[in-house]
């Protein structure tokens, strides 16, 4: 069986809705693959040990640490990065809220922060500030002190909840 242990692995996956086929080094993490091979530099490698959250991307519907997943493990996966989520418009309101509230300074944490926040927002409802803080507690930001980020996420949650309520009411 040893013949299938390899130091370079073939993978086929979709990234931001586009099919990708590649041969990746066995130890390469998914963020290096996205950045170095696909030129998707939105998500960042920062701590590379799963603590800072700068590499947060969406894999098969879940927000995950891109640095704690090997590219080889992404075979068959559906991967979304901030670039793809921008193109589809899925997080346009969240991005606009981040800009309006200045919920970013250097912007290095922002792509990961947006993916993490969108996971919470996608659950619907209006999370409390405490729930927002807790959900983002694995995403490090040294610049803002977090309050502006919480404000932006809270504003989007309320706007989306309001829009959903209105839709529900209008349809009745």
């Amino acid at each position: 069986m040893t013949e299938i242990v390899r130091d370079r692995i073939d993978v086929a996956l979709t990234v931001n809705g586009e099919p990708v086929e590649a041969r990746v080094p066995a130890g390469q993490h998914l963020i290096d693959f996205l950045r170095l091979e696909l030129g998707l530099t939105g998500a960042h490698a920062s701590c590379e040990h799963g603590v800072c959250g700068a590499c947060t991307i969406r894999v098969d519907g879940d927000a995950v640490r891109g640095c704690l997943m090997l590219a080889a493990q992404a075979d068959g996966a559906e991967v979304w990065t901030v670039e793809g989520l921008t193109d589809t418009g899925e997080i346009a309101d969240l991005q606009a809220a981040f800009v309006a509230r200045n919920a970013l300074q250097c912007g290095f944490c922002t792509p990961g922060m947006l993916v993490a926040a969108q996971e919470l927002l996608a659950r619907g409802g209006a999370p409390s500030r405490g729930e927002i803080r807790e959900h983002l507690s694995g995403n490090y930001c040294r610049c803002t002190g977090y309050e502006a980020i919480v404000d932006a996420v809270e504003a989007v949650a309320m706007a989306r909840a309001g829009a959903a309520a209105q839709e529900g009411g209008g349809g009745a």
Binding site: T2, D7, G27, H29, R65
Partner: protein, 277 residues
């Protein structure tokens, strides 16, 4: 920080995974959720490993009702355990513990089997398994065997898993009527490893108390359990402090951890007796 691994193979099924491990000349490492292993690889704390990726083994994922027990597949992810109705109904300790484990993105990929096989003495799930009296289902090329949790954890990052074996499921007894399960811990920040923590289960008037982050492995505080069975909380706290010997590190001294364990036990007892904390 770039990993230097010896190779990678994706297992098609359990048998395949076991064969891959056995042919790896002792360099085989089971890769499941990867939330601890890939960090260690990136930091080059371990190099040259032959990674056997079992994450696609569907049989090892999910929660099943086995009558008197819940069978939790080793590849069941933390987030799945946190929201699983069977777990919430029959092993609420595990569901509560999920809220203490790292952060949302980690919980989306980390697996209970990985956490238990990794045997980090500061991790929540090993102590939960101990408090619940879980049984570990382990598969090898020679077939399966069951290991009671009391015999599973041997030392820091060391378990009864033999070379070439894979943890495939964890069975926990369903909570009895009136059973109470609580987890208490103090961490510096949300999601950090606990400075000290404990799981307390009261089942039919008997107590099981498992400590984490207070020694080289999760441990049952048997003297404290006996005192709790006798209804003497203060004696249990004294017994607990006497039977643990926590380590010191850059976050806290052993003496602080010992003190904290006592505080946590008092709070856990208050909770199972209907208090608020």
């Amino acid at each position: 920080m770039k990993a230097a691994v010896g190779g990678y193979a994706r297992a098609r099924d359990l048998r395949h995974a076991l064969e891959l491990l056995s042919s790896a000349d002792g360099m085989g490492r089971v890769l499941a959720g990867g939330q601890s292993l890939v960090a260690a690889l990136n930091m080059r704390l371990t190099t040259g490993d032959i990674l056997v990726d079992i994450s696609a083994l569907a049989d090892c994922r999910g929660v099943a009702d086995d009558g008197g027990t819940l069978r939790i597949g080793a590849l069941t992810r933390h987030a799945e355990i946190g929201r699983d109705p069977l777990v919430r109904a029959h092993a609420p300790l595990l569901a509560e513990a999920v809220g203490h484990i790292a952060h949302a993105a980690i919980r989306n990929r980390g697996t209970i089997g990985g956490a238990i096989a990794h045997a980090d003495p500061a991790a929540e799930f090993p102590a939960c398994a101990l408090a619940l009296g879980a049984v570990m289902r382990v598969e090898g090329l020679d077939g399966p065997r069951d290991i009671p949790v009391e015999a599973f954890f041997r030392d820091t990052f060391e378990t009864a898993l033999a070379e070439g074996e894979i943890l495939t499921a964890i069975s926990v007894p369903k909570a009895a009527p009136g059973e109470v399960q609580v987890i208490q811990e103090v961490a510096r920040r949300s999601g950090d490893y606990a400075l000290a923590g404990l799981c307390l289960v009261r089942r039919a008037g008997r107590h099981r108390l498992a400590l984490f982050s207070t020694g080289p492995k999760p441990m049952l505080a048997t003297a404290a359990m006996a005192a709790l069975d006798g209804g003497d909380t203060e004696a249990a706290i004294s017994a607990l402090k006497a039977e643990i010997d926590p380590p010191s590190d850059t976050q806290a001294s052993g003496a602080y951890r010992r003190h904290l364990a006592g505080v946590l036990l008092r709070r856990a007892v208050a909770r199972i007796e209907g208090g608020t904390r």
